[in-house]
């Protein structure tokens, strides 16, 4: 304790500053270096801090020196470290700006030059001697090569500044510009601070007050490197810590042995040799154990994710695939929620494919437009967008509220958005919410997510393709079925018609005969027979007539179409159909609500007669459905209402028939358009061809669309979509 205080009283402000500089540079140097040991940016920064550290350590030792010779030695040692600083710095700047390769030989030559100069620093060429100057007992006097060293230093510093200015003026990379800005600021502060040391060398009366700024400079540089890289500090600190402990042990223990037992050199040397051999192994072992412990959770789910991404390609159902992706992410990464958006070609927008929230159901938007800033950024960079980084970036500019990306990210409730790319197409993107632990996403995690998302892109594409093929196949199959029915219907209807025709003739003729010969049936028994026969023949003819209707329906189906299309007034079509349908149904039983405004509806492109038939069938169906509900529902207050609406949507018109009839049971819904399928209670009423004909006319002959929405016991809504008639100019 007392020794410690004595030690503190011994050191001056300058010694203290140099000590701080030493600690700061070594700590941050190790931190950055161990973050990525293969990266030249990190290596050169490590070298740079090493030279600054050496210089600061010597500075510190010089400041606490009690003897002239000691001070002179540390001054010279200080210079030996200092000559490396400019070249290390330039090396770091060049590699930081990805320009080191271009100047590879110059950098190597500079290191060699620095090595030679550092040798001369131990002669009186650099530091002539030390003498009292101002507050200092021992201050160096410049030797003959000191000025050239300063000039070399200025040259490198100047070059670094030029490089940084160049980078700052590069408009292509916002991030790089900002980092270059930080570095330039650091350079001005650091070099400026260091420069305050030198006037006194030439006996110019300026105190080296700026020396402490070196620390600030190191901090800013380290910050610039790691700020936008989301450094996981725990790992870097642990690695650096293990390194320091192990090597302190390896180097320190032998010295301790020599200090304690000055006579036992052999033991000390043996210990040193042994420790030096096992040192790296101990280091690697401890490092691995520590990382295993620190990254346990991360490693566990990374394996899950990679495994899952390999399996995704096998899932062909898009819904299932997307659900799987969000489930894996939400569970494995333990985020508050995750969602997947997939590009929809037909609607030219990103649609929410699946979402999973660990807490409340996340209120994320159903669609996400293609032209937003976030989508653009994802396509441009092909890298994940991290909300935290974006916010910081814009906060720096003081324009956080103006950032479109930030606003879009908060709409998506996303902390991280990972693009799913195939070539240059953004197939979709994955949105991750905050981690439940509140921790940030590390660089390692980002690369795992990127792999996962790109694998997902392939799987999504795969599933979409599969869907497409399946749909095409279904369509082909359906078309084939229709064609077969069409061909069959043609021959079949002819044959059946002829049979019916003959039957009608036979029945009619017999009836005719009975009518003519009625007077012959003159006893009550005979009269009864005559009546019975007449009734049977009437029924027979009735059946012939209904069979004929079925055949008529089939004929409509086989009819070729497309001809005779012209602009049609939908309201007129409806009125014509309504007039016709009155002959079949009791329209007084239901109320028809026209919800549209006649002058505002556009003309549609179509065949008036065919559309009239469609409307006829729709009204007829609605009527039957409502009458069935009335009969079966036994609700005395039931009022049958058919509402008809017409909505122009861009180049199309949607015609909506909504009834409050019996509706369709779930199990019947997929059979609605199948020919001869009928749910009508009185089977005698339905031919089972109504909807079939509607679809044929709307979809095949008019290129439109028919959609049915129905709830059993509640009602049915039929929506027709037709093209607006083009104005003839």
């Amino acid at each position: 304790m007392i020794a410690g205080l004595r030690f503190l009283s011994m050191i001056s402000f300058w010694a203290f500053g140099a000590g701080i500089n030493f600690i700061a540079s070594v700590a941050l140097g190790l931190l950055v270096y161990f973050r990525d040991r293969r990266n030249e940016k990190h290596i050169s920064f490590g070298l740079f801090t090493l030279s600054v550290g050496a210089w600061s350590l010597c500075y510190f030792l010089w400041q606490i020196s009690h003897a002239r010779a000691e001070a002179l030695f540390w001054c010279r040692a200080l210079m030996a470290g200092a000559v490396f600083i400019p070249i290390c710095y330039l090396h770091h700047i060049l590699s930081f700006l990805n320009r080191a390769k271009k100047f590879r030989w110059l950098i190597v030559a500079s290191y060699v030059l620095a090595g030679i100069l550092s040798y001369f620093c131990f002669t009186k060429l650099a530091v002539l001697n030390v003498r009292p100057r101002m507050l200092f007992r021992y201050w160096p006097t410049a030797g003959e090569i000191f000025l050239p060293i300063l000039l070399i230093w200025l040259f490198y510093a100047g070059w670094s500044v030029v490089e940084l200015l160049r980078a700052m003026l590069d408009p292509a990379d916002q991030n790089r510009r900002r980092q270059a800005g930080y570095l330039l600021l650091a350079t001005v502060i650091g070099w400026g601070g260091a420069a305050t040391n030198y006037p006194l060398w030439f006996n110019i009366q300026v105190l080296p007050v700026g020396n402490i700024f070196i620390s600030l400079y190191i901090v800013i540089v380290a910050y610039a490197i790691i700020r936008y890289r989301m450094l996981d500090l725990r790992i870097a600190f642990t690695r650096a810590g293990i390194f320091v402990v192990v090597y302190a042990l390896v180097l320190g223990l032998p010295y301790l042995l020599i200090y304690k037992y000055p006579k036992e050199h052999l033991w000390a040397l043996t210990a040193m040799a042994f420790l030096a051999t096992v040192g790296p192994f101990i280091y690697f072992y401890l490092n691995r154990k520590a990382e295993e412990k620190l990254l346990k959770e991360q490693r566990r789910y990374q394996a899950t994710l990679i495994q899952a991404s390999a399996g995704m390609g096998r899932i062909k159902d898009l819904r299932k695939l997307l659900k799987l992706i969000v489930r894996i992410l939400t569970r494995a990464v333990r985020v508050e929620h995750s969602a997947v958006y997939v590009f929809d070609k037909a609607r030219q927008t990103y649609l929410l494919g699946a979402v999973l929230s660990s807490r409340d159901p996340a209120a994320v938007p159903e669609t996400f437009p293609v032209n937003l800033a976030l989508a653009e950024a994802l396509i441009k960079t092909r890298k994940p967008v991290v909300a935290d980084e974006e916010r910081k970036k814009w906060e720096d500019l003081g324009k956080k509220d103006e950032s479109l990306i930030c606003r879009e990210l908060s709409a998506l409730r996303g902390e991280l958005v990972v693009p799913s790319m195939i070539e240059n197409r953004l197939v979709g993107f994955v949105v991750l919410g905050q981690k439940r632990s509140g921790k940030v996403f590390s660089t390692d995690e980002l690369s795992v997510f990127t792999i996962l998302a790109n694998q997902a892109a392939l799987a999504i594409e795969n599933a979409l393709f599969y869907d497409d093929v399946k749909r095409t196949q279904e369509q082909l199959f359906k078309a084939e079925k229709m064609a077969t029915i069409g061909t069959m219907a043609d021959g079949l209807s002819h044959q059946i018609n002829n049979r019916l025709h003959a039957m009608g003739f036979i029945a009619g003729d017999m009836q005719d005969t009975l009518a003519i010969k009625r007077q012959l049936f003159d006893t009550p028994a005979l009269k009864e027979i005559e009546q019975e026969l007449t009734y049977a023949l009437t029924r027979l003819q009735d059946n012939v007539a209904r069979g004929g209707e079925v055949v008529q329906g089939l004929m409509k189906y086989t009819r070729k179409g497309g001809e005779g299309q012209a602009p049609c007034d939908i309201d007129k079509v409806f009125n014509a159909a309504y007039e016709m349908v009155q002959f079949k149904i009791k329209v007084g039983q239901m109320k028809i609500l026209k919800a549209y405004d006649i002058p505002s509806i556009p003309m549609v492109h179509g065949n008036f007669t065919q559309l009239q038939e469609v409307f006829f069938n729709l009204i007829d169906n609605a009527y039957d459905a409502m009458m069935q509900r009335k009969t079966e529902g036994k609700d005395p207050d039931y009022k049958a209402v058919l509402s008809v609406n017409i909505l122009p949507v861009g180049e199309q018109v949607r015609i909506i028939f909504a009834d409050n009839g019996i509706g369709v049971k779930d199990q019947d819904r997929h059979k609605l358009f199948t020919p001869f399928f009928t749910t009508k209670a009185s089977a005698k009423k339905g031919t089972g061809l109504g909807l079939y004909v509607i679809r044929k006319i709307i979809e095949e002959l008019h290129g439109g669309r028919v959609e049915v929405e129905s709830t059993y016991l509640s009602g049915t809504t039929m929506t027709l979509t037709l093209a607006v008639a083009k104005e003839l100019m």
Binding site: N498, L500, H501, F505, D509, D512, A545
Partner: protein, 119 residues
């Protein structure tokens, strides 16, 4: 006694139409196909021809066309199960007087036939 020709490939239709019209004092000739019909018409023009459209061999429209080609003036009513606009248009342009839809209602048949002949 007025005379009509029923052209139909259905034996039942031929038979029962004969019976039906006989009771109404109309003589019925029958032909099972187009060429037979043309032969019969060549032997003597009936008061009316009920011509089935779809038959094996010549169709009703073919028969009608042939009659026009030979410039035989005879009243023809088409009988058909199709509602094909084109066939209806074509027969009308070839001079058919009307169209009876199959399966027919005998009252309709009687009305149409009687409107074209005087029994």
């Amino acid at each position: 006694m007025p005379k009509i020709l029923v052209v139909d490939d259905e034996l039942d239709v031929r038979e029962f139409s004969r019976s039906f019209f006989k009771k109404r004092g109309i003589e019925v000739l029958t032909a099972a196909d187009g060429s037979e019909a043309l032969d019969l018409i060549a032997q003597g023009v009936p008061d009316l021809v009920l011509l089935d459209v779809r038959m094996d061999g010549m169709s009703g429209v073919d028969v009608l066309r042939e009659l026009r080609r030979r410039d035989i003036r005879v009243k023809v009513v088409m009988v058909s199960g199709t509602e094909d606009d084109e066939i209806i248009r074509e027969s009308a342009s070839l001079g058919s007087l009307g169209f009876i839809h199959k399966p027919l209602v005998l009252e309709e048949l009687q009305r149409v036939v009687f409107s074209h002949i005087t029994p």
